[in-house]
Structure formats: C-alpha cells, structure tokens
Symmetry: C2
Subunit: 372 residues, 2 copies
Amino acid sequence: MASKAFSKLNALTSTLGKAAGKPIRIGVMGSGNWGTAIAKICGENAREHPEIFDTQVHMWMYEETVPYQGEQRKLTEIFNSTHENVKYLRGVRCPSNVYANPDVRDVSSRSDILVWVVPHQFVERICHQINGSVKSGSVAISCIKGVSVQEESVSLFSDVIQKHTGMYCGVLSGANIANEVAREKFCETTIGYDPDDTVNPRFTPEVISALFYRPYFRVQMVKDVAGVALGGALKNIVAVGAGIVDGLGLGDNTKSAVMRIGLMEMQNFGHVFFNCDRLTMVEQSCGVADLITSCLGGRNHHCAVAFVQTRKPMHVLEKELLNGQKLQGAATAKEVHAFLRHHNRVHEFPLFTAIYRIVYEGMPPEDLINVI
Amino acid sequence: MASKAFSKLNALTSTLGKAAGKPIRIGVMGSGNWGTAIAKICGENAREHPEIFDTQVHMWMYEETVPYQGEQRKLTEIFNSTHENVKYLRGVRCPSNVYANPDVRDVSSRSDILVWVVPHQFVERICHQINGSVKSGSVAISCIKGVSVQEESVSLFSDVIQKHTGMYCGVLSGANIANEVAREKFCETTIGYDPDDTVNPRFTPEVISALFYRPYFRVQMVKDVAGVALGGALKNIVAVGAGIVDGLGLGDNTKSAVMRIGLMEMQNFGHVFFNCDRLTMVEQSCGVADLITSCLGGRNHHCAVAFVQTRKPMHVLEKELLNGQKLQGAATAKEVHAFLRHHNRVHEFPLFTAIYRIVYEGMPPEDLINVI
C-alpha cells in the first residue's frame, strides 16, 4: 500500500543519506510543459530528501521574452519570482527551490544527475552545446518520448545522449500526460536504469527512484532501458490501429483484440531487436498502461477515427486536424515498416504492417482484421 | 498472418484426420445467447473438418414453448426448422448441422467432446442430471465465465464439472461478447487445456483448437487452465475500479494506472492460490484483453460510474439499473475479500480491497488512489 511503500522509502533514503557524501545536485534540461512538470517533481523530492539531494534544482530554460502583466519580461525572471512557467505550464506553482537557469552549460556543469526533457529534434544540438561542460561522473535520465528510427537502425535517445556526452543514461516513460502529472492526478511511470560498474555507485536505483517518486507519481524501476524507451514510441502505431477499429465501429472486443495483438508486437519488436525483457511491455506503465491511455483517446486515435470516417489522405488530415504537424503514430508506422523491410522481418509484425499499408498504401481499413 | 495460420491449420487437421479413428462427436450443453454462438462456431468447424469431427453437432436446448408466427411452438422445433434461436439469439442463422436436442442425457451420452455453456448456478444440477450417461473417455470444455468463491476456497467450474462427471475439463474465456461473436465480429479467445496421460490422446490441443478456431474467432491455446478461468472473474472487480475512476473524472492516465495495478493483482491472485503462469493474465485474451473490454464499457463499469456520481448504495443501484440482479464485479469483490481475509492475505491486494471497502464499507471513492 502507498503508506507502507512510503515509510519504506523514508527508511531507505535515510540510510542512503548516512552512507552518502555531498548532496547530489539535480539539473533538468528543458522547461516545456513536461520539463516543468518533471522539474516540479524533482524539486519536491530534493526538498523532501535533503540528506540525499542538494535542495536547489536547476532547470535549464531557453530564454524568451514574453508579455507579462503589461510588459515584456524574461521567462526565467518571471519563473524565478512567481515559480510558475507562465508560457508552458500556466496555473501550476512549482516549489521555490526550482531555479530557472538560462545557461545550459552552467546547468550541465553543476549537475550530478541530469534529467533530459527536451523536444527530440534538439537532443543532438544540446549535446553539442554542453560539450566539455558535463560534470565528471554524472549520470542522465531521459524523459524524452520515443525513439529515432532509421532504415538500418533504431536509436534510443538515451543512447544518443550517452554517445555524445559520455554520461550513462537511463529512461523514464509511462502513461503520463504532462498537464495531469503537473496537477498531481495519480499516475505511474517506469524508469529503466541499469548502470554498469563504471558508474558512480552512489547513483543507485533507489536514489533515482527517490528523485521521481511522489504519492501521485508512482515509480517502478526496471533494468530494461530499451524496453521502456520502445514502449512510448511503438504504442502510437497501435493507437492508430485502435482508432481504425473505432472508426469502423467494430466494437470493444475487436478493439481489445487489436490492442492485445499490438502489445504482443511491441513486445516482440523489443525482444527481436533489443533483447528486451518480455515482461516490461506487458506489466509496466511504460507498456500496457501507456498503450491503454493512447487507445482510449489522444491524437493518434482521434486522427485514425477521422481517417476511416472521411477517407481523406493522412497528410490532408494532418493539415486539418494537427496544423500540419506529422501524426506520430503514422510517422512511426512508416519508419518502423522501412526498418522491418530492411531487416526482412515484415511478416513477423502483421499489425504494424497493416497499419502502415492502410495509412500509406491505400489498403482498405476493412481489411485490417483479415491480415493480422 | 491469418491466411498463413489458416493454411497451417488445414495441413495440421488433415494430418490429424488421417491419424484419427471414428469422427469425434461434439455436444454443446446450453443454448442461451453464448451457448448458441458457441454451437454455431462448433457447427461451422465440424462441417469444415469432417476428417476430424462428426458433422452433426448436438446442442442441448432446455425445452420451452414460445409464441412464433401466431402459434405456440417448441423452441427446439423452431430451431431445427429455421436454424435460428428465436428466443436467445434472434437474427443469427446457425449452420444446419447444429441440431437442437431437448434431451440432456442423450447429448451427454453421444458426445466425445462436451462443451459447457450453461448459467453457472445450473452447473451442479446438470451434472447430476447426466450422471451415468457420460460417454466413457470423453472430455469437456467449460465456456462458463467466472469462478465460485467461498470463504475457504475458490472453485473453478471446470473442476466442478470434472469432479461430478469424471470428464477432464478445459476452459475457454476471452474478450467475447456473445452477440458480437455470433455476428462474426473479429475477436480472440484463450483456451486453457492441459489433460494428463489418462485422457484419450486423440483429444490433442490441436483438435480442441480446430473445434473453436474461426477466422473471426482466434484461439490461443495455453496450459494454464486456472489462469484462464480466473481472468474472466477477477476482471469484473477491476472494471468497478475503472468505473470509480471515471465517475470521479480522474482522467485516462489514472484509469490506465488502476487497470494496470488491477491486472497485476489478478496475476498475483492466480500465482498465489493456483500457481498460474504469470504470462496468462498479461498476454492472453482471457486476461488483458477481457480486462480492457470490461473497463471500456459494460455494466460493472457503468454501475460504478453511477455509484460515484449518485452516491446511492450499490443495492439501490442494482435495483434501479439491473432490475435487482447482483452486480458481478461488486459481488466478486465481496467474495474475494472474504476469501483473502480468511487466508490472511488482504494486504497483498490493495486495489481489490479498496473496491470492496468503497462499495460495502462506505470508504470514500476519492480515497481509492491513496490506498493502492
């Protein structure tokens, strides 16, 4: 039960505190709505566990000038006086020990644990910006959703961060919508974290868990880093499938069957290409729970319903419904299909393949259930 | 893919046919809407695989007189001339090789495989009725949802059938709504079947699968009989939990978290009390898919939403919304709670316990997420 888990955590962190040296300094890279929600959580925990963490959490904020109470003000200045990110997470007050720092190299150089919450297209650029400033022996946690799929390979953003910065990087992912987490609506998340012996032994899974665990944000720790990262990307493909079923009006049994088959293909993909633990996808928040949330609602599901009902091409719907943004599930289905074709394993993923063919090759949506 | 699986099945059944002796005779006990839908499936497969099965499938139909085209007619006579169960599955035509037989002992005495689809309160009585008439060496498959929970023990209906008739009994369960299956809407099911050496070796898992597999009704065979049976009972408790979350307006992340925690408690219950395979609940239709369907809609979910929104006691809502029928999820929560208390394991099932306390002991629904 929660209270039991909580007192266990308190006992644990007090032990950790006694064993530890200098308080661990936390930095959060990014201050969008998810970044600010994560910084709020880290700030709450840094304050609650001063025996482990330095109380001040630095959040790197890209400096912008915004209109505020009739004048143009810097976003960092507003945040540091009001503790509210008035541009990206309006109406949520962060604890006052979260400090918005506009200097990305300063944040990286002072942090023992660096939490990454930036849009995925900026990851490499920021790695280059902080080049040479990363604190020796520090570790990273990536809260960036998804993976980067090329024809030959699938890259986890945690691997990109590790490659460019030298920091060991774990992954946090789950059924987490930033606005709901920020408003402390109960949910769960999964952290994949399995550092080898070269990583500072102070940064145990218990310390990482203590940094993110809140009564409203439950953390499960697993060793399967790739599995955690893949769940958040592949579920978007399945959500398109669930939307197709709903668009066709096939009913809840068919929908849950397509979701189950999708979950099995997510599991199989992780197993075949990353040797993932079979249980991550089917037992953890980053797998089954995130999949369920995405298939209940969300833009992938909604666009797929509209796709079936209007029979307009997806690029037209993306313009009409998403202001020209690419639909993640459709884009991922395309990338994953090219990757599977390259590796000659298309036939092992009939649902992923069918969704690709329906969206991009004119296969009738009605045929979905005949080919899976 | 479906077509591949199908041709594999055809090759397999042709081998089976050559190896087999006399065609296997199929009986279906029960002709409600689920019984008729199952008899339709068995009839289709018996006709499709004459090398394995006797083409005629006998469906035991409790004889009733019903008004039909201006006169009072026997339900069996109408069925055998129209191939439609006009009382319990109107509008669905069964194949003409399904024969409605009003003599329960005749059905049991002629059947090599006896498929049970009767309301659970009649199981024992029917076992007594057919006492002495069961064909020697025959096996059974129970399609009866749920389990029977007493304070000291949980009984599977498959065990009840086995105990009273001596037939080995497997279990079929999944995300299957009778009306949707009967109308050939795509779904999946799981069959738990693991006979020991004393059972006629002709009744292989492949034969059982061939009896139920349709392109619109996908069968997965597992050995974990208890896991299959438990899924269909315990998911109703979790559906009440999902309804409480929706009634409180907590959002899809919280809902998927409660569903995931519920799935883990279902898995744990099976593991602790029946040594079930951990994968049955999280990978099969009888577990995760049936749970999803039940949490998307259905009476357990709807009643729980109404319970939270009106704060009326459940027995009042049962009267108002279910015509006085007991809400399965609530009743199962109560039985399971008494069972867990008896075995001193309440603390291992915080979600099941919370749902019991909310429905029966006046715990505020808002406290759900504080205690799980």
